[in-house]
Symmetry: C2
Subunit: 149 residues, 2 copies
């Protein structure tokens, strides 16, 4: 199968949310109010460097990730690319779509002048640790979260 990666369109938000829910962690923490997600999609478009990408097979949304370009002073003024919310449809896992999706992110990061790609992975996703290692990522950091609500 040939999956094409490109920026998401607004009418695809429902399909993207379905992918986010199609996941061991995501199934318990996503809601059903589409308007909330559409508002977040619109907010993303106002944040320079914040991209929602989909993987498309024919007309079907089969994968998604978020890519955010973050300039900063650290590391000799490095621009970073941050990957978030990586999902491949559960019926299509193990076929290399995720691998190609991360390489798509790396390519977009290079084109945006980034010298570093970063992401965090929940420690419970033990299956994904090898995935990111195989893709050249180093688990050099601890990811901390604090809920505000």
């Amino acid at each position: 199968m040939t999956v094409t990666f490109r920026p998401a369109e607004r009418h695809e938000v429902a399909a993207i949310v379905a992918l986010l829910q199609d996941d061991a962690l995501g199934s318990t923490r996503e809601g059903s109010d589409l308007d909330t997600y559409l508002a977040a999609f619109d907010r993303m478009t106002t944040e320079g460097g914040n991209r929602l990408i989909v993987g498309i097979d024919g007309n079907r949304v089969v994968a998604t990730y978020q890519l955010t370009f973050i300039s900063g002073l650290s590391l000799r003024a490095a621009r970073r690319a941050q990957i978030e919310s990586v999902r491949v449809s559960s019926d299509l896992r193990g076929q290399g779509i995720g691998h190609r999706m991360i390489e798509d992110a790396v390519q977009r990061a290079k084109e945006a002048g980034c010298s570093l790609v970063q992401l965090t992975m929940n420690k419970s996703r033990t299956d994904s640790a090898r995935f990111y290692g195989d893709l050249g990522f180093t688990p050099s950091h601890i990811g901390y979260k604090r809920n505000l609500i």
Copy 2:
């Protein structure tokens, strides 16, 4: 001492870079070309939601951090605040400035409608693990990095 936190101004970039270098990891990875850092500062101002904050005592820059607001679809369309490049001048550590700085970040995150604050810490910074734990952060994730250059 009374430290005030506010967005950095362009003429403070050199002082901020000096703080980034005043660090076990930072001393080996920052450069001396101010123009490169000034260009990154200018780029940050074009990225909606990307903030460079300084802690000021009198006229002296004594602390800094970067705060980026990132909207997204995950976690019921949560907006996240991400903290990066946290530094307190080495002669002023242990006086609670870092603690107040993180609380400043949390306050700004709440005002920006964020429901989550996140950061990653290099595993070699063993002294800082308790710092973030005391501030209510949970080390739930592994932080992966891949260099592109």
